[in-house]
Subunit: 334 residues, 2 copies
Amino acid sequence: MYQSEFEIIRRYFAESGLYFDKSGVELGIGDDAALLQVPEDKLLALSMDILVESVHFPMSADPGLVANRALAVNLSDLAAMAAEPFCFTLGLVLPDNDEHWLQEFSQGLLPLARKYNCPLVGGDITRGPLSICIQVQGLCEKHHAVRRSGACVGDKIYVSGTLGDGAIALASLAQESHLGKSFAFISENISANCRQYFENAYYKPEPRIELARRTASLLSSGIDISDGLLGDLGHITQASGVGAKLSVNLLPFSASAICCMSEENRLLAALHGGDDYELCCTLPANNCAQFEEQARQADTPVTCIGEIVAGSGIVYVDEAGNSLSIEAASYQHF
Amino acid sequence: MYQSEFEIIRRYFAESGLYFDKSGVELGIGDDAALLQVPEDKLLALSMDILVESVHFPMSADPGLVANRALAVNLSDLAAMAAEPFCFTLGLVLPDNDEHWLQEFSQGLLPLARKYNCPLVGGDITRGPLSICIQVQGLCEKHHAVRRSGACVGDKIYVSGTLGDGAIALASLAQESHLGKSFAFISENISANCRQYFENAYYKPEPRIELARRTASLLSSGIDISDGLLGDLGHITQASGVGAKLSVNLLPFSASAICCMSEENRLLAALHGGDDYELCCTLPANNCAQFEEQARQADTPVTCIGEIVAGSGIVYVDEAGNSLSIEAASYQHF
């Protein structure tokens, strides 16, 4: 059935439950621009992430899962600034107007939009090769926006959740990996449970909004891990003018990662894999107990994986504190 | 030469002159999100527009011109709300990292970014089929945001500039037209001047920011003409619950449009063509003199083309005020 751009916007976006009332949203979908009232004591955080078919998800991917991931990875950037989600805009490039796809995609955005009280307020839709561009708007406390540049020598380095699952998930989805040919499952016969675990890890990363909100005032710096721990922690050390000592034996892995991947490949996935959307943050040692308690209350596992040191660059140490040498190359989008 | 995503961002965006200091931009390119301080007495306007290769511009198009158009059509949406440009974000999907293309594209964004004091503050860049997603952020006076819904019976309808040039330009660029096979130039031999005029009309539409800023308090409603006058004025009449009487003989055309197109095709281009990015607005008759004076000071031609009437829908009248019948279908993106 033929549907105009306006009909698509009305049916799948304006009237699908994605555009709901929210204090501060003065005008949403349906004019030349959305209008927001930003509280005077807050900063507005803006972040944009694009997902392209065959690059970020396979052609056959479930549209609902793709939608969930598209919004989740954007919300993860807000978490990395300790910003509370405010609203989002959506730029959709679609090869055709497939009612089923649009319906599933639109419904796939709903759970996170509702959970984080983050309505869709505008965007654009046009014809072309499938891609999804989302911009999230968030609100930060003026003095508690978590930047990359505040890490100090002696600060402890924490990550949320487990590492490497994003890259392992890509391999389980049979997408090309930049980690090389030796990056492979131990056995071809991955259990259905593990496969499901990785699919969830890829399409349903949990934005660490609650952890960030609770702990913003305790942190000296933070970033979300989208390009691999090494690359993203590297952004922190570079922006802060410091170095980092990483205790490789402390890196947290999921049971599925341990089950399906060799130790070497797990490490490769964590350090260089990308797509984990966990938080990596630094905090003064004095704040650690309070941070861990808040993480417990937010029901978010966190692990101390090292500390900030003088100098530059990242060094690895083993259990005994001895230096390790590991080759490096974080995820490059080109 | 191989360039990483971060190198591309640094070279062509962060350090290209596009990211400059601006009051209210607390943090720009280089963290998980940009941070804005929005003045308490203003509303933040958000608008997003996507341009896709082979849909919105030919594959061979000059990257600098494409960049200019991408930013211009977004700024036009801010003009339609009478919002002052604040900053923009850029989502770029690129098939490869062509240094020449990136250099020209980045430089092509500069003139409008500078002219409207609208720095680039963030975005995303990824691999895939070429498309450009821009979101502009603007600031509106709280009580003078121009919406689509305020038109009242008796209000006069004005447009800025000339109509139909966008659609005629597409034809001159040998892009497919949705206006049918009879939508063609009078002669194959369009003069170099006319060709240049249409290229400028397409790639360098002038966002009517200055006109909107000066006249916001005089207007009852406004929209920018991106889908053809009929479709866009239709959005105003629908949102306002009124009808409109359009004096077809008053529609303003450029000398090049008159020279290259039959009267019938000019009218088709104006009513159904799209891509003009002129303002269409309504205002009480009492405000017309002041509106025209402000337009003169803004050096922006404006033309009164009809008035708002009771009822719904749009009727056409000729010079003598008699009803005309013209077939209708505004630009559909699908």
